[in-house]
């Protein structure tokens, strides 16, 4: 127990030494981490707002199935049974001919029966699909049922919505990748500079019998620290900017996206960014120190061998 405590103390001492030795480099690269994570945070807010809007549109996609008007009671029963068995349906609503007529009359202030002397409107089934991307498939299934006169849905609108959603997911994934790579690279540079500055120590550590994990730990702590500090600064900056935006939008009585105003969602974003900062910092520093231990050390040894020859 005493030994492990001494080791932990040593790791933090070495980590503090790393910071002390190259403060300017640490600050510069640290700011890069802050900027990358801050942009990432704002990007998440923006994309979430757009996504929540597009997803709300998804729920509005409906498929209207109009039945023939001259069906027998048995035929109605059979069609109703077949329609209710269709897969991929989230909600199904039935509108009788009478209800349709009533709605039409109320909407257009016209008495259709008064003019035509009969009810021309067909019985209607309204489907809300589980998966919007499978709307066309559902429509085709409905169309195939005998007794269905016509199927209508916003074919073009659904297709545009799907393309938009897909495009947004691709843009989101690529931007995330880009920003995470920037964070990764910043932390990697900090740790590589530290390793370079401490290569003599590492050499001595190896010679006196330090294990590779013992050598790694101070750098892993350093990487996680920069990830965490960068993420904390980014979260604080986002919080302050969000406060200003909420105040300004409220005073102007302008529509405010739900994400901007939601404290819970901000908490989620903050936690996510902090976790991301630590994880990226940890992975990045591990990659830097492993690379040094495996590749650069071998290269140095190789150079020494050549010098010896």
């Amino acid at each position: 127990m005493g030994t492990s405590f001494s080791s932990v103390r040593f790791f933090f001492k070495e980590f503090a030494e790393n910071l002390r030795r190259s403060p300017y480099v640490s600050v510069t690269h640290g700011l890069q981490v802050v900027m990358s994570l801050m942009i990432l945070g704002f990007f998440i807010i923006l994309m979430s707002s757009i996504a929540s809007f597009l997803f709300s549109l998804r729920n509005m996609v409906e498929v209207y199935a109009y039945l023939d008007t001259d069906l027998t009671a048995e035929q109605y029963t059979e069609i109703d049974r077949q329609l209710k068995q269709l897969p991929g349906v989230k909600e199904l609503e039935y509108k009788s001919r009478e209800d349709a007529l009533k709605e039409f009359s109320q909407a257009y202030h016209v008495s259709v029966e008064g003019i035509l002397e009969y009810n021309p409107l067909p019985p209607t089934y309204i489907f809300r699909p589980v998966d919007v991307s499978k709307t066309e498939e559902l429509a085709k299934r409905i169309e195939a049922i005998d007794g269905v006169w016509q199927v209508r849905y916003g074919r073009k609108e659904v297709s545009t919505l799907m393309k938009l959603l897909l495009g947004m997911q691709v843009v989101f994934a690529l931007t995330m990748l880009l920003l995470l790579s920037a964070t990764f690279s910043s932390v990697n540079n900090i740790v590589r500079m530290s390793i370079y500055g401490r290569r003599r120590e590492i050499r001595i550590m190896q010679l006196v019998g330090a294990t590779e994990w013992f050598i790694r730990w101070p750098f892993l702590i350093e990487g996680s620290f920069f990830g965490l500090v960068g993420a904390t600064a980014a979260v604080l900056a986002i919080y302050l900017i969000r406060e200003v935006v909420v105040k300004v939008l409220s005073s102007l009585k302008i529509f405010m996206p739900s994400f901007v105003d939601s404290g819970l969602l901000f908490f989620g974003l903050a936690t996510g960014l902090l976790a991301l900062g630590v994880i990226v910092g940890l992975v990045s520093s591990a990659s830097a120190v492993n690379r040094f231990l495996r590749v650069e050390m071998r290269r140095i040894q190789e150079m020494r061998r050549i010098e010896a020859v």
Binding site: S6, R200, G209, A210, A308, V309
Partner: protein, 224 residues
Amino acid sequence: MIRFIDVNQAYSKNAPALRGIDLHVEKQEFVFLVGSTGGGKSSLLKCIYRELVPQSGRVLVFRKDVSKMPSREIPYLRRRIGVIFQDFLLLPQKTVFSNVAFALEVRGASPKIIRQAVPEVLEWVGLSRKHKSYPDELSGGEQQRVCIARSLVNKPDILLADEPTGNLDPETSVGLIELLQRVNVRGTTLIVATHDENVVNQFRTRTVRIEHGRIISDRREGGY
């Protein structure tokens, strides 16, 4: 303690470093490795602490073939072997005390053990009064003593010195080898690679000469 069996190592086809090396060093022996620069002395030492893996042959240290030792076991091998270099390899921003303590810290030693062991070893190498000094405030001989203290603080079974007197004047060199001799008397096996003829002739002990990667003489009575 250390046994080389037909060890071969080449950096390239035209540059063999070790050729058919057979060598046996007993426990508590003091051996000088002599020969011209690039003859293979350093390569031989490196094979012992597994800095170098020979292309063929076996290197037995503490009865284990270190050339086949898995990487995870190397730190534990090195804890039993001290290594001293010509360029001292000290940390300039650390005091003498911290430089020596560093070897214990990286093994996870407690502060209590460090406070006890470091002054002891510094006194032993004659540097107790300089424990607060930084390496650049010390002479070459003193810096090499710090390096020896750092190697000894872990109480190694084997001490390897690669040209330890390379940066020292003749008088200091003799003093340093006397110190190493005392280390040897305490029970540590010692191998010193050097081309310092004066030192080798003064301390009559087993001397192995390596030239072009081959052992060309192994004289028990010593002498360059």
